[in-house]
Each structure stands twice: as structure tokens, then as C-alpha cells.
């Protein structure tokens, strides 16, 4: 069969005007690195599962993307990570949600798929399973980046502004819902 790999690093409000040439080059280099990493595994006869895991690891380890290091902040100033993986041959699948101390969540999702009888594990339970499988936990601060912190402050300031301009509780609720609907970009 003909091998192929495709990757993404997120979509949304990015625009040519909001990115310098140097930034664009950094993104393109990392995307190419992740693609080539997966492709080389496929070219050597590796499985599609191995290839996509390795490619996603490259992106998780980069501060440029919203996954692993570089993940955005929750309202409380922490990071909660989610991941999933699926094997098209067997339809086996694994997923983890809301993990806070897993360096590469896709690796844990893969372990859920291959080493548990479940499909999805969440939060502390998922991390307990990681420990059982010999996967070390890391500090939540591992995922900190200044850029994402500034985004959190900006989002909170927006919330504060909505509160300040609202004339009543009902007014605040209506304004908040409007803002929230336009803001909830994953």
C-alpha cells in the first residue's frame, strides 16, 4: 500500500497579518519535522499507530501548539490535557481527558487502547493508570508558557470588563453568554 501521513497544529483566528516571517518559519519548520518523523517510521515499515504517535509527540513537545508544552491555561491557572487515538484495522481506541501531569497525553491514550479494557479514562484515574503502567508524572508547571499566560490574563480582563459594564445581574448574564458563545474556540 502507498504510505502517507498528514498532521495539523490547530485552526482558528490565525492570519497572515498577525504573524511575522520569523514566526511563520518556526511553525513551518516544526510542522515539517513532525511530518518527516512520522513518514520515516512508515518508510521503514513501521505501523501507522507508531507514526502518528511520534508525529504528535513532536507537536506536544513544542511550545508553539496548544497541546503538551504550550497548552493553554484553565480559568484556575492550570493546564488540563486531553488526547485520543484510534486504530483503523481493529477499531480499538483509547482516550484520556483532564489529565494534568502527563508529559505526552497521546502516549497515555495509546496505553489505554493497548493495555486496558477501557476506551476513555479521566483525570486522577487516568493518572493512576499511568503510574501503574510505569509512566512518570510531571509537574503541571511543565506546560507553562508566557504567551499562553498572557492569553489567560486577556480572557480574564474581558470577563472583568463585561462585569463592569453590566447594569444588573441579568444584564451580566446576557453579556457573559454572548461573550462566551463567541469565545469558546477549542
Amino acid at each position: 500500500s502507498s504510505i502517507a501521513i498528514a498532521i495539523h497544529g490547530g485552526a482558528g483566528t490565525i492570519s497572515p497579518q498577525s504573524m511575522t516571517s520569523a514566526q511563520k518559519l518556526r511553525y513551518e519548520a516544526k510542522l515539517k519535522q513532525a511530518t518527516d518523523m512520522g513518514y520515516n517510521i512508515l518508510a521503514k515499515g513501521g505501523s501507522s499507530i507508531e507514526a502518528i504517535s511520534a508525529a504528535v509527540n513532536v507537536l506536544e513537545d513544542s511550545p508553539l501548539f496548544n497541546a503538551g508544552i504550550g497548552a493553554v491555561y484553565t480559568y484556575d491557572g492550570a493546564h488540563e490535557l486531553d488526547a485520543s487515538i484510534m486504530d483503523g484495522k481493529t477499531l480499538n481506541a483509547g482516550a484520556v481527558t483532564g489529565v494534568k501531569h502527563i508529559q505526552n497525553p497521546i502516549n497515555l491514550a495509546r496505553l489505554v487502547m493497548t493495555h486496558s479494557v477501557h476506551v476513555m479514562l479521566s483525570g486522577e484515574g487516568a493518572e493512576e493508570f499511568a503510574l501503574q503502567q510505569g509512566m512518570p508524572l510531571v509537574a503541571n508547571s511543565t506546560f507553562d508558557t508566557e504567551r499562553r499566560y498572557q492569553s489567560l490574563l486577556k480572557a480574564k480582563q474581558k470577563l472583568h470588563d463585561i462585569k463592569a459594564k453590566s447594569k444588573s445581574g441579568a444584564d451580566y448574564q446576557a453579556n457573559y453568554v454572548n461573550w462566551d458563545n463567541s469565545y469558546k474556540m477549542g
Binding site: A6, A11, G12, S84, A95
Partner: protein, 134 residues
């Protein structure tokens, strides 16, 4: 959010998605990335999909699985099936984002209704192609 889809020499396909969620999220909010069928799906008989974007919409429209169902049951190619879902009901409802897709023959499709999507692909015997904007 990041993701990858691939087909190997045995013709087996797979999909993976990983994310930090959304800025300032509360209440243990979960988007589509860990939801099998919404943000991630793979079936050798149709295609493998990884999604990124407005998670609540990808969950409600079961995007990844829907694309593969159109391939499997309607015989559509992966680009057409992806465009139908990303630019169809989901966009009309207000959902934004995109997907990357491969099938067991080594075809690659990418579809997104936002200004840009960080993306790249590499087919057999070719160099990687990288793009960000439309």
C-alpha cells in the same frame, strides 16, 4: 490542538488528536479531541480523521465519524466528504475548524472553514508539503 493521521505499508490507517483545550475553560470542560467519533476516528474501510476547532460543534455534529460514514456508505472521496461536513451543516450552525484525513489508498484530504490551519502532509516518494493559511 494537534493531530495526525497515517496509512502504513500494510494499508492500515490510524488517527490521533491531542489538546490543551480552550483558554480559561472551567467546570472540567471537555471538547471533541478525546471524543472518539467527534474529534478522532479511524476505520480501514473508510478513512482516518483528526479534527481541530470549535469542540462543542464537532461533538454535536459527530464530525470525524460522519466524514467516514459518507465515505463508507455513500462512496464519496475523502475530500468531498470532508468539505460537505466542514462547510455544510456544521458551518451553517456556527461551528468553525477543520480536519485532516487519509484513506487506505494513501489519499490525503484537508478541509477547514477558518482563516488558517497549521497543517502538513507527505505522500510516498514525495517531500513534505507545509501550509498555514488558505
Amino acid at each position: 490542538t494537534v493531530g495526525a493521521v497515517a496509512v502504513d505499508k500494510q494499508g492500515n490507517i490510524a488517527a490521533a488528536t491531542s489538546t490543551g483545550g480552550m483558554t480559561a475553560k472551567r467546570y472540567g470542560r471537555i471538547g471533541d479531541s478525546p471524543i472518539i467519533g467527534a474529534g478522532t476516528w479511524a476505520d480501514n474501510d473508510s478513512c482516518a480523521v483528526s479534527a481541530t476547532g470549535h469542540g462543542e460543534y464537532f461533538i454535536r455534529f459527530n464530525v470525524a465519524s460522519d466524514i467516514c460514514a459518507r465515505v463508507k456508505y455513500q462512496g464519496k472521496d475523502i475530500q468531498k466528504a470532508s468539505d460537505e461536513v466542514i462547510f455544510g451543516e456544521m458551518k451553517q450552525a456556527g461551528g468553525t475548524g477543520g480536519v485532516i484525513v487519509v484513506d487506505a489508498k494513501g489519499n490525503v484530504a484537508m478541509s477547514f472553514n477558518t482563516q488558517g490551519m497549521y497543517r502538513a502532509f507527505r505522500k510516498q516518494g514525495q517531500q513534505a508539503q507545509v501550509a498555514i493559511f488558505k
